[in-house]
């Protein structure tokens, strides 16, 4: 793990990159990184995020600044701007069930080609997907999802990059921290090695490429 400034970290992300961003309705989202993505005007992003949050909050800022060209998410109903951009064909949106979303990312981070899920069988979600029978039950083959960058928000990060999360701010962060080429982390608190007991580490340090230093 390398400590970097938020400016240096975001400078590594090219326009047009694919980014996974942790958080659920803006809770557990690396706000400082997103503010800097907006400041550096990284355009044409492929965003993989549970939702579109709300204008001014979390990944909602990326829609405010019209930086997203493709979105994979589960629910964007609480962000009118994302809805407008989708209906105006300014962004291509792939809406998928939330359990499928997290399992596709988990598969991507765990070296699996995909997962078999009963969710979506017989619905619009099944269009174009392979239906596979296992022991008489039907499942959809949902392929793995990865990104170039994962932007993750932790509660505690130690000097090595071991991470823990808090309350409902955990959500997609630990799963996304495994599914990208480069993992960039902001933390509420940076603490000495040892403060996080081995049993309490959720994301082990070797998964973290860059930790944003206190500014």
């Amino acid at each position: 793990m390398n400590p970097v400034s938020v400016e240096e970290a975001v400078a590594m992300i090219p326009s047009g990159a694919s980014i996974m961003v942790g958080g659920f309705m803006g809770v557990g989202t690396p706000e400082r990184l997103l503010d800097e993505v907006v400041r550096q005007q990284k355009t044409g992003l492929t965003l993989i995020s549970n939702d579109a949050a709300t204008p001014g909050k979390g990944v909602g800022k990326l829609f405010d600044a019209a930086l997203v060209s493709r979105l994979t998410a589960t629910h964007i109903g609480l962000n009118p701007k994302a809805q407008q951009q989708m209906l105006a064909n300014q962004i291509t949106v792939d809406l998928i069930p939330q359990g499928t979303f997290v399992e596709r990312i988990r598969a991507g981070g765990c070296g699996l080609g995909g997962v078999l899920t009963p969710t979506g069988v017989g619905t619009l979600v099944a269009d174009g997907k392979r239906l596979i029978e296992v022991d008489g039950k039907s499942f959809l083959l949902e392929t793995a999802l990865r990104a170039q960058f994962a932007l993750v928000h932790a509660f505690l990060a130690d000097y090595l990059g071991n991470l823990t999360y808090a309350l409902t701010a955990r959500n997609f962060n630990p799963v996304m921290a495994m599914a990208a080429e480069t993992v960039i982390v902001t933390a509420e608190h940076i603490v000495p090695v040892g403060v996080i007991a081995p049993d309490h580490v959720v994301t082990p340090a070797p998964l973290v490429d860059y930790l944003i230093a206190n500014g």
Binding site: F24, G77, P97, Q98, T100, V102, G122, L167, T168, N171
Partner: protein, 216 residues
């Protein structure tokens, strides 16, 4: 009584001690307000919490403790937090005893449509498809009709949430079950006649000899 409160109070009677329950947004959220205090129900919030408590008092909200809509909540003693893979493992894996969801349409076969109106409202399905596919019991809590049109239809015209039929629909007028694959009128709301329910129900309902009144 307010129609939403009738629905919430009736759904609350479907919950049992020890149940792990997921409540959707809207009317389903109200159900928690009518669960008797001696009933030990675990409420899950799919953003990663079992043991959701009421809205915190003024000044007590924590920015990292919210419901699936991003609103502040509290956690009860014994609560547990986890990531989204665990949360949906619980849901898809049959560990959630009851899910209560809102609905746009439920049809005579018990199929639910509740996630999009093509060309008009495309918010995304969030966790709804996983909940209907995986929870042990699926209860739909919704108004019987919207703008004078029945939401209990012969066949869903809107995209389905799942091909798995729901178990129970609770509206402001009636309780409808789907045991045996047929929509059956189980109860009517206080002061509502069977004929009145039939008049605002598009789907064919099986009407048993006696249809009791909802207990609230």
């Amino acid at each position: 009584m307010d129609p939403q409160i009738i629905i919430a109070r009736r759904v609350a009677r479907e919950l049992h001690s020890g149940d792990l329950v997921n409540l959707g947004i809207g009317i389903p959220t109200l159900v928690a307000n009518y669960v008797p205090a001696d009933l030990k129900v675990f409420f899950q919030s799919e953003n990663g919490l079992i043991g959701t408590g009421p809205i915190p008092e003024q000044g007590m909200a924590h920015p990292l403790l919210t419901d699936a809509g991003g609103r502040p909540i509290s956690a009860l003693p014994g609560a547990a937090t986890f990531d989204s893979a665990m949360s949906f493992g619980l849901i898809r894996g049959g560990h959630v005893d009851v899910t209560v969801l809102g609905g746009l349409q439920v049809d005579a076969d018990g199929h639910l449509a509740n996630w999009m109106i093509p060309g008009k409202m495309v918010p995304g399905m969030g966790g709804a498809m996983d909940l209907v596919s995986g929870a042990r019991r699926v209860i739909v809590a919704m108004q019987h009709a919207a703008k004078g049109k029945s939401k209990i239809v012969a066949k869903c015209s809107l995209p389905l949430t799942s091909t798995r039929p729901v178990d129970l629909v609770v509206t402001d007028l009636a309780v409808i079950g789907f045991a045996g694959g047929k929509a059956t009128l189980m109860e009517t709301a206080p002061g509502v006649s069977v004929a009145e329910v039939m008049a605002v129900t598009e789907a064919d309902l099986t009407i048993p000899g006696t249809v009791p009144e909802m207990k609230l």
